[in-house]
């Protein structure tokens, strides 16, 4: 009954958020299994320190409640844009250098890459629906992949997947906050409309 009282924009916004949350959850699940597969195929240890790897968006950046809805969504969108590029690089490195014959593994990375692209698109839509501007596109990291050693490629791939997993968690949380906030504002808006 409550949803029936929502405006179409709010409903669409809510649906979009729900779909984005679902997709983020799905990405998280897929990335978790991909991480297992990645570590095994690269002969890596999950405990290896990845602090030296930079150029990957960090999900654990300190953020407070002071962030606005637009900033929150914009940060997410920028991160997934970056992950699109990073995952593409990881996929290419695996194809060209590390696991040239493992097509199934490549398909798994490709699948996550597509989902990340879809999530980024949904976030774009959400921002547009909420009337926020699209954040500026930030170029990829400073490192030249041509000079990266194979070990650095492996670490970088691991870092990308780990951070992507973290980002999906953060995105779910951010999207829930956005949903919660929009409900409140929707209710307030409806109240104002009734007064008018």
């Amino acid at each position: 009954m409550a949803s029936a009282e929502q405006t179409p924009v709010t409903l669409q916004h809510h649906n979009l958020c729900s779909r984005a949350i679902l997709l983020a959850g799905k990405i998280r699940s897929d990335v978790a299994s991909l991480l297992e597969s990645y570590v095994e195929r690269q002969g890596l240890d999950r405990t290896i320190s990845l602090d030296s790897v930079d150029g990957v968006p960090r999900a654990a950046v300190e953020q407070g409640d002071e962030l606005t809805e637009a900033e929150r969504l914009g940060a997410n969108l920028q991160a997934y844009w970056a992950f699109q590029v990073l995952l593409g690089e990881v996929l290419e490195e695996q194809r060209s250098h590390l696991t040239p014959l493992d097509t199934d593994f490549h398909a798994s990375i490709q699948s996550v890459l597509l989902q990340v692209a879809a999530l980024a698109y949904q976030l774009e839509e959400l921002l547009a629906l909420l009337g926020h501007g699209r954040p500026a596109w930030e170029a990829a990291g400073p490192e030249d992949p041509g000079h990266r050693s194979l070990f650095e490629m492996k670490l970088r791939g691991l870092k990308v997947l780990q951070e992507l997993a973290h980002w999906t968690v953060r995105s779910v949380r951010d999207l829930r906050q956005v949903t919660k906030h929009s409900r409140g504002s929707g209710t307030a808006h409806r109240g104002q409309a009734q007064k008018e």
Binding site: R41, L101, L150, F151, K154, L155
Partner: protein, 1090 residues
């Protein structure tokens, strides 16, 4: 030479002697030169130096004069130093050194004789010209000048190169390098490969020299070490921790060292190869290494090596471990189009290296000096590479080189391209025909085959899967269609064609088969006329003409109809298929029958047969022989048969009329094996053999036979015609022919004793021990007499027929032989005679012992009629009022009160009265008499008065009571268990009635038993007429046996006396048997017929 110790000893002694000579000229002045020492670097000049006792050197100069040997004059030079450069001379040199003061006054002079042996050859210190490092291969390249121009002639030189590492300058290796000095300066080079990456730490190199002049007898010593040259490592000034070597490829089984370089302020925590930590080797302040031995093949992404650097850093590298390329195997080169040559090979052992590290193949052709780089799919083991065919080049010498970071391998092949033609699969294959016997084929092969001839193979398969190959040779062309024609095909036959080709002159390989194409040739007229036969009707008015359908190969198409004519009659019958016979009415006039088969293409040649049947007499019927798959028939040759024999038969199936079939044989044939798919085992077939004579056909013989004989299907029906006490005549019927399933060979009759219903199985199954089998080998015999049987015995007879195929089922019959009358008579007479004799003897004995018997069994009993108190009537139940004692006066029942009763005896209270005897017995048994029942019964008090005086009055019976004695109760206790089987007799023998019942019984029975029997059977005799009881005493209790003859037991009629009243002897023969109650007499009366 110097190894000889004795020689060394001699030389040492000589050296000491020379020294003594040198110093023998010392003057003893302090300024005098001492200890002259000479060395040479180039064997041309030597530098001699000396010492002086005086350490002061104020203004002193030295004049050195040396002479080599006579006749040279001495050469003098002046010097202020204690050394002089003088030429090296052969042999010894006399050197005179004079010490001069500042004014030139000689102070002291010393003369030295310097032999060559005392001159030392010490080469000049070598200088490293260049030291380069190849970090990828861990190799140091060293260059230096050998300074060969110093020496005037060739000399052997040895070089010692020392590699040092670490901060402590530990010697890593010390290598010797030999060279020849040619009299000119030469740049020598040497390289060394490190076991650890050169980046790990700095490497230092120094070198020294040794000249070995065989003609110089002086001492030869190593030169001084050259100044050290250093290849600095990368363990200083690094921006971030790093592991060396980076992304290296090594062979499986190699020993590999890795080093981790880190910054100042950092320390290494551990270093891992794969997942395993290795012990660290300290190389420098900021460099540590591990050494991994015998590495195994890595996964496709390589094996990780990394170091964890404190406080929080990580660095790593990836090692790829694999194999050098294997020699390409099975290298073959062939051309399919003469445009390119395709070489294919097998890569052999996988290298385990991929992409940038995978094996690369280069195909090099030596004659044209061209090479091509081959693109290979690393997922496949077999690879191929194309090389262009050059005009005017037939011979190609290929070398296939395989290289990867770990090595190279190659294979070579020399071919003549014309002998390596492996054509492409023929394409656009078409088949056509416009004839009934040939076909045209066309196909296309891509490629330029102008230089060669082609050999193509055409496969022709018919519908019967028969395969035929036909080779066609043709000139090659460029990208052309090729054609061929195939002849000798069957008309109206369907074929499948395929084609493949190769080079004709130098066969190498066939191409693949083209796709198959089907073709059906056109129809042609039937090749021959059908096989025909004819039969006249019994009346002779009609003639039935039969023909056999042609084989497909003979029909040359689809037979549409058969045309039948009967010459000279004009009538022509057109019989459509599938009919294979027709009837012609020919009116008794014979004719020549002609049959023609017709298809779309035309008509067959006619088949002809005459209708004339020649008369035949005395035609015999012979039996054919079954072969299992056919019927073998033979006949006698008839010289009059000129145009062959015809064997005709008819096979019927079910209710349809039989289908006529026949076979024709030449005139010289005398036998035939007839086979037909329609023949069935066990079915009789009749054949007729006709001989073809010049004027007609004559029936020569009838034959009957089976394809395969089987056992008869049924058993013959048989009956027993006669039976006597020792023989049986058995007769049986013929088995119907259709049930015989073969020619009957006889019968088997089996018999044994057996009762009907005892067994249903056959004799053989049961294994009868007394089984007798009679085999009748004459199938025409229809009866058999079985002899030597036992009289009045049941026999079981089994009869079965048999053929060559086996025995048929059996049918059984039970018969009982008649009784033997003589034996029967004997069997009856003997027991009768014995019984009579025994009876007579018994009678005699009984007569002689009659007194004893009487005394024993029938003692005299007082006649109650003689007692006044007992003036009985003879039958108390006849209502004779004169009999007072037992008179049944109408009695007025008195009440008898039952004082106490037991529930257990309630059952008998209506039927049984407790008798005093029973009471007494109970007392004797210890039972309580007081518990006895006091039953109120009706009684007749007047009668009691007479009874009181009886001997039983001492019994405890109250005077007012009358005791009814239950006869059953009275006698039951007297029965012993041992006598139980005779209980009826004992019971009946216990009481002896007061009437002459035994006498009555004797009189009533016509064949009465003996007296003993009578005694046994003469039981209780009630003194009343039981009939009267039944009629007159409706109140009397009815026994459960009331319907039998002993129904009087339990009668309410009382008897005063409990003693047996034995009649007196005088009455024994009394002829007044009034009572016929339950005695034997009565028993026999119920069986009047007996």
């Amino acid at each position: 030479m110097w190894d000889n110790p004795s020689l060394r000893c001699v030389l040492a002694i000589a050296f000491l002697h020379l020294l003594s000579l040198i110093y023998s000229q010392e003057t003893g002045f302090p300024e005098a030169p001492l200890y002259l020492k000479c060395i040479t670097h180039d064997l041309n000049r030597m530098i001699c130096s000396w010492d002086a006792t005086s350490s002061a050197n104020l203004g002193l100069t030295y004049k050195i004069c040396y002479t080599n040997s006579e006749p040279f004059l001495p050469v003098c030079i002046k010097t202020e130093e204690k050394r002089a450069d003088i030429p090296v001379t052969m042999g010894s040199t006399n050197i005179e050194i004079t010490t001069l003061n500042a004014s030139g006054t000689p102070l002291a002079t010393e003369t030295f004789v310097l032999p060559e042996e005392n001159v030392s050859l010490i080469p000049l210190t070598p200088q490293i010209l260049n030291l380069n490092a190849d970090f990828s291969t861990y190799t140091l390249y060293l260059k230096w000048n050998d300074s060969g121009s110093v020496f005037q002639h060739e000399l052997d030189a040895s070089w010692q190169i020392q590699i040092l590492r670490k901060e402590t300058m530990e010697t890593v290796t010390l290598m010797n390098y030999d060279s020849k000095l040619t009299g000119k300066d030469s740049i020598l080079s040497w390289n060394w490969t490190s076991d650890i990456p050169l980046e790990c730490t700095s490497h230092h190199v120094k070198i020294r020299c040794y000249i070995n002049d065989p003609y110089f007898s002086g001492r030869k010593e190593w030169s001084e070490w050259s100044p050290i040259k250093t290849v600095p490592g990368k363990d200083t000034k690094i921006s971030n921790a790093v592991v060396f070597p980076q992304d290296k490829v090594v062979l499986v089984g190699s020993d590999v060292a890795f080093c981790c370089l880190y910054n100042e302020g950092e320390s290494i925590k551990y270093m891992k190869y794969g997942s395993e930590s290795y012990s660290l080797l300290h190389l420098s302040k900021w460099s540590s290494a591990i050494k991994v031995q015998n590495v195994s093949a890595s996964i496709s992404s390589g094996t990780n090596v990394w170091c964890s650097v404190l406080p929080d850093n990580v660095a790593g590298t990836v090692l790829f471990v694999g194999y050098a390329p294997d020699t390409p195997q099975n290298l073959t080169c062939e051309t399919r189009t003469f445009i390119t040559i395709t070489c294919s090979w097998n890569s052999g052992r996988p290298t385990r290296l991929y992409r940038q590290r995978q094996t690369k193949y280069i195909l090099f052709e030596r004659i044209s000096r061209e090479n091509v780089t081959c693109k290979v799919d690393e997922l496949n083991k077999s690879h191929h590479c194309d090389f262009p065919v050059h005009a005017n080049q037939k011979i190609y010498s290929f070398t296939l080189e395989a290289t990867n970071p770990l090595g190279r391998a190659e294979s070579s092949l020399l071919i003549d391209v014309n002998q390596r033609a492996h054509l492409e699969t023929p394409d656009k294959f078409t088949v056509s025909t416009n004839s009934s016997t040939n076909a045209h084929l066309s196909w296309y092969i891509p490629g330029n085959f102008i230089q060669i001839r082609l050999l193509c193979q055409i496969e022709i398969s018919n519908t019967n899967s028969e395969r035929q190959l036909q080779n066609v040779s043709m000139a090659g062309a460029e990208n052309a269609n090729y054609r061929a024609r195939v002849d000798a095909l069957h008309s109206y036959a369907t074929y499948t064609f395929r084609v493949r080709c190769s080079a004709s002159e130098h066969f190498w390989r066939w191409s693949k088969w083209s796709e198959g194409k089907k073709l059906t040739t056109l129809e042609a007229p039937p090749a021959r006329g059908p096989d025909i036969w004819r039969e006249k009707s019994p009346v002779g008015e009609t003639l039935t003409v039969f023909w056999k359908p042609l084989l497909l190969s003979e029909a040359n198409g689809i037979i549409r109809s058969h045309e039948v004519s009967c010459y000279p009659r004009e009538t022509v019958l057109e019989v459509p298929v599938p009919l294979n016979s027709t009837e012609i009415k020919f009116g008794g006039n014979d004719c020549l029958i002609s049959v023609v088969a017709k298809n779309r293409a035309g008509s067959s040649p006619p088949s002809r047969i005459t209708s004339v049947n020649l008369p035949s007499d005395n035609v015999k019927t012979e039996l054919a022989i079954a072969t299992g798959n056919g019927i073998y028939i033979s006949w006698h040759s008839d010289p009059n048969v000129t145009c062959g024999y015809t064997l005709k038969w008819c096979i019927s199936s079910g209710s349809e009329p039989c289908s006529v079939d026949w076979e024709m044989f030449p005139s010289n044939a005398t036998d035939a094996l007839i086979k037909s798919a329609l023949f069935q085992p066990g079915v009789r077939y009749n054949f007729s053999l006709y001989g073809c004579k010049h004027n007609g056909y004559q029936l020569l013989q009838n034959i009957t036979g089976y394809m395969k004989e089987l056992p008869p299907k049924v058993a013959p029906n048989f009956t027993v015609e006669e039976t006597s006490s020792d023989s049986i005549l058995v007769k049986w019927e013929d088995i119907p022919v259709e049930d015989c399933q073969g020619f009957l060979k006889g019968y088997i009759l089996s018999f044994a004793k057996g009762e009907k219903g005892t067994s249903k199985t056959s004799f053989v199954e049961e294994g009868f021990p007394e089984l007798t089998v009679k085999t009748i080998t004459d199938p025409t015999k229809k009866s058999l007499r079985i002899l030597d049987l036992q009289g009045k015995t049941s026999y079981r007879l089994d009869l079965q027929a048999y053929t060559i195929g086996g025995k048929g089922p059996s049918k059984d019959l039970y018969v009982v032989t008649k009784e033997n009358s003589v034996g029967l008579i004997i069997a009856i007479l003997i027991p009768v005679a014995v019984a009579v004799v025994l009876g007579v003897v018994t009678s005699i004995l009984c007569y002689q012992k009659r007194e004893w018997i009487k005394e024993t069994f029938y003692p005299d009993i007082p006649n109650p009629e003689n007692s006044k108190a007992l003036q009985f009537q003879k039958n108390i139940c006849e209502g004779n009022t004169a009999l007072k004692t037992l008179e049944m006066n109408p009695c007025t029942p008195n009440s008898v009160e039952v004082v106490e009763t037991r529930s257990t005896v309630l059952k008998i209270e209506d039927t049984e009265i407790i008798s005093p005897v029973a009471d007494s017995e109970l007392l004797e048994d210890g039972s309580d008499p007081e518990t006895g029942s006091h039953v109120v019964v009706s009684y007749c008090p007047p009668i009691i008065e007479e009874e009181i005086s009886s001997p039983a009055r001492d019994e405890p019976v109250g005077s007012s009571q009358i005791i009814y004695i239950d006869i059953q109760s009275m006698y039951q206790p007297q029965v012993n268990p041992e006598e139980e089987p005779e209980i009826n007799f004992v019971t009946s023998a216990g009481y002896k009635p007061q009437m002459q019942l035994p006498i009555n019984a004797m009189k009533m029975e016509s064949h009465s038993p003996t007296e003993e029997d009578l005694d046994k059977t003469a039981g209780y005799r009630p003194q009343a007429n039981t009939n009267v009881w039944k009629l007159d005493s409706p109140d009397s209790p009815t026994s459960i046996q009331s319907n039998n003859e002993n129904g009087s037991f339990g009668s309410p009629c009382s008897i005063n006396s409990r003693q047996f009243l034995i009649p007196p002897k005088d009455y024994e023969d009394s002829p007044t048997p009034n009572n016929t109650g339950w005695s034997f007499t009565h028993f026999f009366q119920n069986k009047p017929n007996d």
